[in-house]
Structures are given as C-alpha cells and as structure tokens.
C-alpha cells in the first residue's frame, strides 16, 4: 500500500494527483466520517479516555492544593520567579497555532490538502488554548479575583495597565480562543447538519439539530458562508501571528539579556507552528489508525506536514543562530554571557536537547522516505514536541537563573506539584480531544467532498457516470405530498423566522450530480425565476455564478465592525491612561500609542470576526430550525450526497404545472411539490 501512496505524491511531471484515495463517492465520505460518532463506543476509545480523565483529575488535585496552600508549593524563588507555569503556557499556546495555520493560512494559499485534517487541528487549537489559559489563570495568586485582568468598570476606579505585555496576553489569548472557536463552529455547521439528518435517536436529532441552526445546504447560504469563511481565514491569519508575537513580547520588551531580541516575534511564531504541527501529526497518526481514515488522511498529507515542519524547524534554527551571532556582534558582555551560559552553563543539557530536537531532528525530512514513513513521523513529532517544550524552558529559565547579581544566582528545579500540573494539562487536552472525536465529525466532510474530482461541475465522468444514471430514479410526475405521506416533523423554533403564507411552498427537484445541478441552475436563472434556490452538501464551485447571485455584502459588515473594534479599543486605552487612571509605569508617557497597538489590533480582529459570523448568520436567516423543505424525505440527503433545486410558489413566474415541467426537462431525478 505504501508504494502506491508514495506514487501519488506531487511531482511536476505527473501533475496533481487526487487527495483522497480509493476514489470514494460523496456518500461513502459521509459514512466513514460519521461512523466513529455513531457506532458503539469502541474499547480503544475508553483505553485512551480513562487514563486522560485520570490525568485530568490529577490536575484537579494539583490545582486544589495550589489554591489551598499558595504558590509556595512550586519551586519558584529568587532569582527564578517565573518558570514552569509560563513555560507550559507558551508551550500550549504554541501547540494551538498549527490548527489556525491549517484552517486559515493554508486556506488562503489554496492548499486543498488541509481539508482532511483541518477539523481535528482546529479542535486541537481550542483545547490547547484551554490548557494554556489554565496556567496564567492559576498562578495569579488570588484566583477568585482573576476577572480584574479585564477592563471592567468598578467602584474603585481601577483599570488594568494596557502598557503591560501581560495584559496584551489576556486579550490576545482569550480573543484567539474565541475566534478559533467561531472558526471551528462555522466549519462544523454543515457537518452538524449532516449528523442531524443521519440521527437515529431523537436525542441526537435534537442536540445536533439545535447546533446545526437549521442549516439546509442552500446555495444562497453557502454563498455568504464561503465569504464568511474566507474573511475568518483572513482575520485569523494576522491574529495567529499576533498572538505568539505578543506572547514573545512578554519576554522581548524586557531588558533582560536572552529575552530582549527583536527577532522574537517571528521566531516565536515559527516555533509555535512547528510545535503545533508536531502535535497534529502525533494525533493524526493515532486517529487515522484507530478510526480507519487511511484513505482520507493519506501519506500525502503527512508528506506536506513534514515539509512544513522542516521549514519551520529550519526557521527556528535560523533564529537560534541569529541570536547567538548578534549576542556576540552586539559587544554587550551581558548578552554574550547569557548565550554562552545557555550553551555551556548549568542548563546546557536542556539547551542541547532543544537544539537536537528542534533543529537537527527535523532535517531528516529532507528525505521523502522519512516524510512518508509513519514510524519516523510519529517518533520525530514527539521528539519535536519535547524539544519545543525545552525551548521555552531554556529561554525562560536560563535568562533568569543567573541574573545581573552573581550572589543571587541559583538553580531552579520543579517540584512534584509543578510536574503534576503539566501532566494534568495533558489530561485536560486528551480528555477534550477524546470527547471531540467521540461526539463530533473529526473530518470536515463538506470540505473533503469539494476536493473529490466529481465535485467539480465541469467534471467529465467516464463510465462511473453511466452507472449512476442507470441507478437513478425515474422522474416522478409532480405530485403534491399527501397529508398522510412520509412527512417527518423536526424540532422547530417557529418564532425566529417567517415565510410567506400559501398552500404550497414550491417545487423541489433532485439532481444526480454537481454538473447536472450547475446546468439546471443556469437554465432556471435564464427562465427568469427569482425566488428559488439550489441545495447541495458542499458549495459547488461556480454555482453562485450560474444562479446569478451577487457578491455577498459581508465584507463591508466586517470592515465596519473591525474598524469600530479597533477604534473603541484605542479610545478605551487612551481614556484609561490619560484621564481615568493615569499612572506612570516603567517611565512611559501616559499616552504611549505604540503600547496600545496590540490590544487595538486584537479588538479589531475580535469585532471583525464576530461581524463575519453573526453577519453571515443574519444574511442567511439562521437559526431557522423549521423550514418547509425539511418535510421532504428526500431532502434529508442534502447534507450527504443529494443535489436539489427548489422553486418557491411566491415566485412571480411560478406555475404549478409549467414550473414542474421545466424542472423535469432539466434532467431532475425526481420532482415534488411541497406543502407550505
């Protein structure tokens, strides 16, 4: 099997092979992705879940003891007052970055291979951010007043210090978590609808139905949806760069040798993506095996991921080298010492672990054989995860443990409580991930379907097309659904949206392939219909044009929201520091505009992202849990493998017989007249 897959790797001579192996049809993709969620819980899942849960309870114990006893149970002391917790914070935030890279940046670069892994990677982002937020959350001392980190009006007239990088962290990481969640949820929406339509129990139908918001795969909805997705990607890309840049500024704005380096922001971002990809790889190697997704998550996907790890690992190596060179070049004895101390001081062991794991080990990926060997990938990904943890540890601890005053030099080692907290955070991460793969489709089915060759409306099918035609249903004459017919009630929230009254909702015609749908849409558009729609399990490329849809106004909504967010953020900080709560901190002027840029930017992204998501829902009239189309039993498959056109009865051109005939003449498999 390995040879055939390797043969499919990209090469300029053979062109671009398909991303998904065994050329499945749309339905089998749905099946294979939904299967792990719908079948009985496998033993293997429990074997991972229960230990994770045990580790998570360990976190509970460690944190409870910390709250009871105080930070003194950790190994922190002069001169190392900041070590294990912040290392873990940076480590976990970094892990999250690969998810956003895959879902946003690779999307903008049209890297279609991302579709097989983006859902799981995005979920991983959210869980990693949760783990990350635990650490600053628990080390603030009085955790019960942690909300003071946010700018909340209070009777004491106190405001946070917006000139502090730690406050930028609060904004950056929490907004990053929020936007990642929105991005993930928007991506999930069509798949939640799939799970709803496949549900066999009423509980499942109810729960998935609630969260699917009444998604019905309408092309007019897909149209806004795709715009929203693109905008979210465009917002998440600078966001992900900003988050780890801001995390790096926790260190880089200081005057501490080894921390204060201008290259820190991009260097941390590269490192974050590097470690995140390693984690995605570790998880995907396990998941594809456990859930039999070898033909969806192929060696080709691993090949791409290994290349990205090679690139980012080399970038990290470039940063290590540049730091070393500049420390010498600067002529600053403290800088020089800090780096010599890293490589040859008491923590040299950690430094060399870091260099070996992060710079040397990924170089094996120059070889394609290594990039496509599962054991090599698995081992190296874990090695890199270890190395990147050590990178943060080295940066943080080596710069602190020998400070400017040699008499206060010391050696930091963690206590058992700190180690337990780290182990516990892995428990949190894996518990969440287990729940995710158990209850949600872990591959973006709608997106994977778009990369199948037959998803292209201009796909020229060979013999397979004939097979489909052979099995297609005969076109049934227009027939009103009888009162006693197979009408299934769905969970409904009728107060949220209304449709015009009338005896009939309209016609619903099913088409066999995206190509048929595309051509039928052109004809319906040319026939002058206005109140009509097409429905499909995924956005069919070009159908918006074939339907004559105008561009979505969503970008304007987002632009206004983002500008408002940025302006509000800037004004808030200016007001706080010049009039509400003016304090001189670190010798900075009250109005320190450069220090206000991070929070301004974060708030612009937050409001822009909220505008994109809620704007999309508003334009799509969602949530709309009840819709006449849901009365059709055929329509169940709109989230699986069926393609429809619906023409509404209040269209001026609508006629109970001629409209039905038109749809039949377009090659519909079946046409039905739906009640209102």
């Amino acid at each position: 099997m390995a040879e055939t897959e390797t043969a499919l790797l990209d090469n300029p001579v053979a062109g671009r092979p398909t991303l998904i192996l065994r050329s499945p049809d749309f339905h089998s993709i749905t099946e294979v992705v939904a299967e792990p969620v719908e079948r009985k819980t496998p033993i293997g899942w429990w074997l991972v879940f229960l230990p994770s849960l045990a580790l998570l309870s360990l976190l509970g114990v460690a944190v409870s003891w910390l709250f009871w006893e105080g930070i003194g149970i950790w190994g922190l002391n002069v001169p190392v007052g900041w070590a294990w917790d912040i290392t873990n914070f940076v480590f976990w935030v970094g892990i999250g970055h690969a998810g956003t890279l895959i879902s946003a940046i690779l999307f903008l670069f049209r890297q279609k291979w991302r579709t097989s892994i983006n859902r799981a990677a995005e979920a991983m982002t959210i869980f990693a951010v949760m783990c990350a937020l635990t650490f600053p959350g628990i080390h603030v001392g009085r955790v019960w007043v942690a909300y003071w980190m946010f700018p909340l009006p209070n009777q004491m007239g106190m405001w946070p210090n917006f000139r502090s990088p730690l406050l930028w962290d609060v904004f950056a990481v929490s907004i990053y978590g929020t936007v990642s969640f929105l991005f993930w949820y928007v991506g999930l929406l069509p798949d939640l609808a799939t799970m709803r339509d496949r549900a066999t129990t009423s509980t499942r139908k109810f729960v998935y139905g609630i969260f699917a918001l009444g998604w019905r795969g309408s092309m007019r909805q897909w149209h806004h949806y795709e715009t929203a997705y693109l905008i979210l990607a465009a917002l998440a890309t600078p966001l992900v760069l900003s988050v780890h840049s801001i995390v790096s500024m926790d260190f880089a704005v200081s005057v501490l040798p080894g921390w204060h380096a201008t290259i820190f922001p991009p260097y941390f971002v590269a490192g974050a993506i590097f470690s995140g990809f390693a984690m995605v790889l570790t998880l995907m190697v396990i998941c594809r095996r456990v859930f039999h997704l070898e033909h969806i998550i192929t060696l080709r996907h691993f090949d791409f991921m290994a290349k990205i790890m090679l690139v980012t690992g080399t970038m990290v190596g470039y940063a290590y080298g540049t730091e070393f060179f500049t420390a010498w070049y600067s002529g600053n004895p403290y800088e020089t010492f800090a780096f010599l101390n890293r490589a040859g001081g008491p923590y040299a062991w950690a430094y060399w672990i870091m260099v070996t794991c992060n710079v040397i080990s990924p170089q094996i990926f120059w070889s394609q054989r290594a990039r496509t060997s599962i054991p090599v990938l698995f081992v190296v990904s874990i090695v890199i995860n270890i190395g990147m943890w050590f990178e943060r540890f080295v940066i943080i601890v080596t710069s602190l443990h020998r400070d400017f005053l040699p008499s206060s030099w010391g050696y930091y080692s963690p206590t058992i409580w700190e180690v337990l907290t780290l182990l516990g955070s892995f428990g949190l991460f894996f518990t969440m991930f287990c729940l995710f793969v158990r209850f949600l489709p872990m591959v973006a089915t709608a997106e994977v379907k778009t990369v199948l060759p037959q998803a292209d409306p201009h796909f020229h099918a060979g013999p397979e097309r004939e097979v489909v035609a052979h099995h297609s249903h005969p076109v049934v004459p227009a027939m009103p659904a009888a009162a006693g017919g197979p009408v299934r009630r769905r969970f409904a929230l009728p107060f949220l949206a209304r449709l015009p009254e009338g005896p009939h909702y309209g016609f619903l015609a099913e088409f066999a392939t995206p190509a048929d749908l595309y051509h039928a849409c052109e004809r319906v558009r040319d026939a002058g219909y206005t109140r009509w729609d097409a429905h499909s399990p995924f956005p069919v490329h070009g159908v918006a044009g074939a339907m004559g849809l105008r561009r979505s106004p969503l970008p304007w909504i987002v632009l206004v929201m983002a500008l408002a967010g940025g302006a509000l953020g800037f004004v808030l900080q200016w007001w706080v520091h010049t009039s509400a709560y003016p304090l001189v901190i670190s010798g900075k002027p009250y109005f320190s505009w450069p220090a206000f840029i991070p929070v301004t930017f974060e708030l612009a992204v937050l409001l822009g992202a909220l505008g994109a998501v809620f704007g999309m829902l508003g334009l799509n009239r969602l949530p709309m849990h009840h819709h006449p189309l849901f009365r059709s039993t055929q329509f169940n498959r709109v989230t699986d493998d069926a393609f429809f056109i619906s023409i509404e009865s209040w269209d001026p051109q609508f006629h109970p017989s001629s409209t039905g005939k038109l749809l039949e003449s377009l090659g519909a498999r079946s046409v039905e007249l739906l009640e209102s």
């Binding site: 300029p12 001579v13 671009r16 380096a261 201008t262 991009p266 070049y329 002529g331 450069p594």
Partner: protein, 404 residues
C-alpha cells in the same frame, strides 16, 4: 499521457516581443540612461564623493533587493510546486538574472568604503572598545570575502535557475522542473543566510554600534514587497503594450495584488516589531538608530513610511476590484515601489545626514545610473527569450488558473 500539457499551444507572438515593438528599445533606453547617470555621477560626485557613495549605495541596494526578492519568488514557487504563477515566472527569472550585473554595480562602492563605513577607516577601533570587539567580523578583508561569497552564491543560484528554465523552453524536459524543485529548498536556505548577512554588512554596519536580530528579516520583507510591486507594474505595462495580454489574466493580477497586500502587512509587522521592542525596552544603544529617524526632518519621512508603506496601501489593496484591474493594481505597485525606495533611503541616509533629510541630485543620478544598467540589461534579455516558460509542465494549469 499528459493531456493538459499537450494542449498548451501558445503562439510565438503571444509570448515574445515582436520585431518593431517599442519594448525592443529597452536596452537602448537603459543604456542611454546608464551613460547619462554615470556621467552625472562622475561630474557631481567628484566634488562630493561622500554623498556619491551613499547615493550609489541606496540605488544599488534598491535594485539588489528587487533581484533578491525575485529570486525568492521563483525559488518558493519551485519549492511549493505552485501552479498559478508559472506565467509570471519568466519575469522573475529575468529580474534575478540581473544579480551578476548587480555584482558589477557593487564594485564602485569598494572605492568608498572609508566614506560609507566608519569601522573600515584605519585606526577607527583604536579609541572604540566596541569596534575592537567587532573587528574579527567588521574588517575590510573579511568584508570583501563575504561580498564575494554573497555574489558568488547568488549568481550561481540565479544563473542555474535561469538557464535551467530557458533550457526547458528548448527541450521540454520535465526532469528539469524536478531537478530545480529538489534544489529549491537548499537554495532558499543559502539565500536566507547570505541575504541576512549582506543586510548586516551593507546596511546595519553603517551604524556599527547598533544591532538588531530582526534586521535580516526586515530586509527580506522589504525586498519581497519591492519585487512584487515591480512585478505588478511590469506585468500591467506589458499588457498595456500588447505583450502577454492573452496570457496573463485578471486572475493572475488578483493574485499578484493579494501577495502585494499580504507582504505589505508582513513588512509592517516586522518593522513595527523591531521598532516597538526597542522603543519599549528603551536601551540607549538600540534606540539611537530610531532617535535619529524621528528627529528633525526625518520624522516626516518615518511617518510617510508608516502611512505610505503600510496604512494607505493596506486599505487601497484590500478590495477585490482594485487588484483585478490592471490600472489600479499598477498604481498600487508603482506607489509601493517608490515607498520601498524610500524605505532603503531611510535606512541608509541618516548615517550621512543625521541632522535631517538632504535630498541630492546625486541620489537621482545614482538611481538613473544603476537603474539604467538594470533596465538595459534586463531589456536585452527580454528580447532574446520567451516571456513565459513555454514548456513548463504546469503552464497549462497556470493559464487556466481561476481564483476561487
């Protein structure tokens, strides 16, 4: 076996400059400009050699950065096996084929090292402990060795890729693509390292006490913006002159526009990070570089960079229609090209004129001289080659490219 590839049939007149076309005069125009510029430099520079060497350095770095940006653009396309940009690749190849020419244009600077780099003056280190410390790196022989190394590796990579691609026009051998792709990764590493150190040698060491770990990345970001800006201007100009107008579509223009947009933001990110971290830490040995640049008449220049190199183009290039129309894209590109020049000027010139910006006729003369050589040589190449890689295996994909 490869139906798409065999379907590509570009007619010669689509991809070459036809005889009698005004673009055939580029070598003559460039040559004339070069002669004029060099003459002006010789006459004016004799009276003010210090200003001449700084002006020449700015002009040299500007065109060098465009060529390096082009090299990166093409290498990354090979490494990622990108498809959309194949029709633009030959233009990038033509620009980076100028790297050996840039080596020749570097030579005049060697006569003025003492004017440019205070560390290179004999005895400079005697009363300067920092320069003594840095002497193992900042000394003239090692500086020259490094320059040879930079130009050697750049020219080697450039010529290897240029002739590899040209050769494929003749043979149509897809193995060429595979070979160039395999070497793209190592070439990028070599390019990244040499470009970083070159920026340290030629720009950062103008103020030898000052240092920034980010500097190489900043220079890279500027170079890439510069090249994409140049690309957008050249492509639109070619289409306007009836060249490539049936090959390069609005889809390609939109992608060029997107890259311009993205890397303008990237440049701002890197530039802001460098400024911000120094501003915040407020260490005199670092802030001195920015202090010069926010005082006197350099402040408006700095603000101009902030607005002109980032804020204005960011909003201008945001929309879709702007990127798809040739005229509007070219306006953005020309503007950013000018801003990239200003960026280089702003990095170099405050060393000569710390008291404020002092534009000189020599700035223009050097720009015309270096630019004349650059355009003339590139024009000479353009006449002798197809304007797209005719038989690249992915050409069909690029021709049919559509933004989703």
């Amino acid at each position: 076996m490869h139906p798409e590839r065999d379907r590509v049939a570009l007619r010669p007149e689509q991809v070459t400059i036809p005889p009698g076309h005004p673009w055939n005069r580029l070598p003559a125009i460039g040559g004339a400009a070069a002669v004029l510029g060099i003459a002006a430099c010789a006459i004016l520079g004799a009276g003010n050699p210090k200003q001449f060497f700084f002006s020449w350095l700015v002009a040299f770095l500007f065109f060098l950065s465009l060529a390096l940006g082009a090299l990166f653009f093409v290498l990354i396309q090979y490494a990622t096996q990108g498809g959309w940009g194949i029709v633009l690749r030959r233009l990038g190849e033509t620009v980076f084929a100028m790297l050996p020419v840039m080596a020749a244009l570097f030579l005049p600077l060697l006569l003025g090292l003492g004017h440019l780099y205070s560390w290179s003056v004999a005895g400079a280190a005697e009363h300067d402990a920092l320069l003594r410390w840095k002497a193992p790196y900042l000394n003239v022989p090692f500086f020259l060795i490094r320059a040879v190394l930079y130009f050697g590796s750049w020219s080697a990579i450039a010529l290897f890729y240029y002739f590899g691609s040209r050769g494929q026009d003749e043979t149509g051998d897809p193995a060429v693509s595979a070979r160039l792709r395999r070497l793209a990764g190592p070439s990028i590493i070599v390019l990244g390292l040499t470009q970083s150190f070159a920026s340290i040698d030629w720009i950062m060491s103008l103020t030898p006490h000052w240092y920034s770990t980010m500097f190489g990345v900043y220079f890279f970001a500027g170079s890439f913006v510069g090249f994409i800006a140049l690309l957008s201007v050249v492509v639109v100009a070619m289409r306007g002159a009836g060249l490539l107008d049936t090959v390069v579509s609005a889809e390609h223009l939109q992608d060029v526009g997107k890259m311009l947009f993205a890397f303008t933001a990237f440049w701002a990110y890197i530039g802001f990070s460098q400024f911000f971290l120094m501003w915040y830490a407020n260490l005199p040995e670092e802030t001195i570089w920015y202090k010069t640049r926010i005082e006197g008449s350099w402040l408006p220049v700095s603000l101009m960079l902030l607005v002109g190199h980032f804020v204005a183009p960011f909003f201008y290039l945001m929309g879709r229609a702007v990127k798809r129309k040739g005229a509007t894209l070219a306006v953005g590109g020309a503007w950013l090209l000018a801003m990239h020049f200003l960026d280089i000027y702003w990095q170099v010139m405050p060393t000569l004129h710390p008291e404020g910006i002092r534009p000189s006729v020599l700035d223009l003369a050097a720009l015309v001289a270096v630019g004349g050589c650059f355009v003339g040589a590139a024009g000479w190449l353009v006449r002798r080659q197809a304007l797209v890689p005719l038989r690249d295996p992915r050409l069909a994909e690029s021709l049919a490219f559509e933004n989703v």
